[in-house]
């Protein structure tokens, strides 16, 4: 694995207005702080895991990386090129290199399109395949690669199971020969046995095609299993980042520790020993001052409400944003 950054996210912030078009009436529009000042790098060839609970911003961050949403502030570059400044044909070229597989196998395929078209059309759009024969040939090749058959080409999405639809979604993502695929909870709605099939498929493909993955999931065990490096997000902020064995094996940030303690392990011997974290995630509209995790942190100190923690290096590759590290 070459440690060359493929994607660089720099100070990305995204705020969503809470209500639309009442701008005339109020001066202060309440904003949802989905992401605040997140910076990280995705290295070529790796699987980068992104975990966090609801409202942490991981899905929004993924969308911003692909420029499906524009950030309120900050930069995203892909292979050194600023993605946010791309227009027209340049943007289209970027779309060819960075693809996405969505969580919901039931919503991510156009219910009126035949599988052949779903999988083959993107290639046509980018000029990879032109004639109907070429498209069919390419679609067939892709379907076979993800474990489906020729007879599926002429079928419609509703005729397939969740696992099969995800395979189709993967085939579609591959159709434009991308370098990078964002996997947004790709197996969250699938059974355990089907999940294993899809994960295996993704790993084989990564090996074969030298793909880079960002794997977003709320399933800690899964992310710990498939990722090389990972980052933990909480309420729009990055709290810990590093190699998987570091972040999940020897977590430093109290939130990561809480997540790992809360994560149910299929092993009756492993019981919860650490005290449960209290409360729930606070509102993203007015996040807590200083460290956002302080309202639930068992190790909270005075400084936590006043100063936002910055990243401290636990090792060359492992970073954590917590005032405890400062000691």
């Amino acid at each position: 694995m070459r440690s060359v950054p493929l994607i660089e996210v720099d100070g990305v912030t995204k705020h969503f207005p809470l209500r639309k078009s009442f701008a005339f009436l109020s001066r202060e529009k309440p904003m949802v702080h989905a992401i605040d000042g997140v910076s990280l790098q995705i290295l070529r060839g790796e699987t980068f895991g992104l975990v966090g609970e609801s409202g942490c911003g991981k899905t929004t961050l993924g969308r911003i990386m692909l420029r499906l949403i524009d950030p309120s502030a900050g930069n995203v570059s892909f292979e050194g090129v600023n993605v946010l400044s791309l227009k027209g044909p340049e943007l289209k070229k970027f779309r060819k290199r960075a693809q996405i597989v969505f969580q919901n196998p039931f919503g991510s395929l156009d219910p009126r399109m035949k599988i052949r078209d779903i999988v083959g059309y993107p290639a046509k759009l980018h000029g990879i395949a032109n004639s109907p024969e070429e498209i069919t040939e390419l679609a067939l090749k892709l379907l076979k690669r993800v474990g489906l058959e020729e007879e599926h080409l002429s079928r419609l999405p509703h005729e397939f199971s969740g696992g099969q639809r995800q395979r189709i979604a993967v085939a579609r993502a591959l159709s434009v020969d991308p370098d990078f695929i964002l996997l947004d909870e790709p197996t969250s709605s699938l059974d355990v046995s089907v999940q294993a099939q899809i994960i295996n498929l993704l790993q084989d493909l990564q090996h074969e095609l030298e793909l880079t993955y960002v794997f977003i999931s709320h399933n800690l065990s899964l992310v710990a299993s498939v990722s090389d490096r990972a980052a933990v997000m909480y309420l729009g902020k990055l709290v810990e980042i590093g190699r998987t064995d570091e972040v999940f094996g020897t977590p430093t940030h109290p939130y990561t520790k809480a997540l790992m303690a809360a994560n149910p392990i299929p092993d009756p011997e492993a019981k919860h020993s650490i005290e449960l974290v209290k409360g729930e995630v606070p509102s993203a509209i007015s996040p807590p001052s200083g460290c956002r995790y302080r309202t639930r942190c068992p190790f909270v100190m005075d400084i936590c409400s006043k100063v936002e923690p910055t990243f401290h290096a636990v090792s060359d590759t492992h970073f954590s944003a917590c005032h405890l590290e400062n000691k």
């Binding site: 919901n104 039931f106 156009d110 489906l148 579609r172 434009v176």
Partner: protein, 291 residues
């Protein structure tokens, strides 16, 4: 190791639809009625016993008998013939009104639903104005302004019908927009216009299909209403609503003048309503991906 083949589910194809149709006697009746009307309209000239305009003043206001199965009207014209020929006018009204409404309503609805913002607000306010009035009343006002006649009637009915389609398409477009396959299309590099035509438009067809089917009957009913009060079709055109209207004056002693055209309207509208209802049930669960 045993190989397990993936099994695909029942496809949305004609044979399946026909099998499903067989389970619904009401829908079958609806389709049969529509088919009957179509046949009637197509073969009007060959199956009509008389000329629809031929007056036999010596034979006026005759009750149903062997020579005139539906009787004659106040000018001695054969009512059966006029009912048969009336089906042509009815189809003309239905098709033209629905086509015009779609032509205006779909693009406006698509733009409104997909673009949002000020465009959406503007278009919706316009539809609000139209929808604030009861359809028939508004149609009467419009036709009062532009004059009587079949063409003007169709035009005014279309004007009151398009806002419903625009609303329908807009709502549909807005909910389809939320689906991830739209985001997937963007991720793949498709532009806004392409997404609108390739993905959103085909998926709004279902609710439109149902509404159009129901409107075929609705348009005829409205036209009948207009004719009833003197707008719409002008004599001597054989149109069911006009026939019912004319028959009003003779209802006490020539009930057949209103009864048979009225029955024709009823069957025509019922047929389309039954089919529309069935279509609604048939199309919806599939799109939601519900088994």
């Amino acid at each position: 190791m045993n190989e397990v083949k993936f099994r695909a589910r029942t496809p949305l194809k004609a044979p399946f639809a026909i099998r499903l149709l067989r389970n619904s006697p009401l829908a079958i009746f609806g389709v049969a009625t529509i088919a009957f009307n179509i046949l009637m309209a197509i073969s009007a000239s060959s199956i009509s016993p008389y000329d629809p305009y031929a007056m036999q003043l010596g034979n006026k206001l005759q009750g149903p008998d062997a020579a005139h199965i539906f009787g004659t009207d106040q000018l001695g014209r054969d009512i059966l013939t006029r009912v048969i020929w009336g089906s042509r006018v009815s189809f003309e009204i239905g098709v033209v009104v629905v086509a015009l409404s779609l032509f205006v309503g779909i693009p406006l609805g698509l733009v409104s639903g997909y673009a949002g913002g000020w465009l959406d607000e503007g278009i919706m306010r316009v539809t609000d104005i139209f929808l604030a009035f009861p359809a028939l009343v508004l149609a009467i006002f419009i036709q009062a302004a532009i004059g009587p006649g079949l063409t003007n009637a169709m035009f005014s009915i279309a004007i009151v019908s398009w806002p419903t389609y625009a609303r329908l398409v807009r709502g549909s477009a807005m909910s389809i927009k939320q689906n991830e396959f739209i985001e997937a299309a963007r991720a793949v590099g498709e532009g806004k216009l392409r997404i609108l035509f390739r993905h959103i438009f085909p998926n709004v067809l279902s609710p439109i299909t149902v509404q159009s089917t129901l409107d075929m009957g609705g348009a005829v009913l409205t036209a009948a209403g207009l004719s009833f009060i003197g707008f719409g079709v002008q004599p001597p055109t054989a149109e069911w609503g006009a026939m019912v209207s004319t028959g009003r004056d003779y209802i006490a002693f020539a009930w057949w003048m209103t009864a048979f055209p009225g029955l024709a309207i009823f069957l025509f509208v019922l047929g389309f309503n039954l089919l529309g209802d069935w279509l609604n049930d048939f199309l919806n669960p599939r799109l939601r991906g519900v088994e």
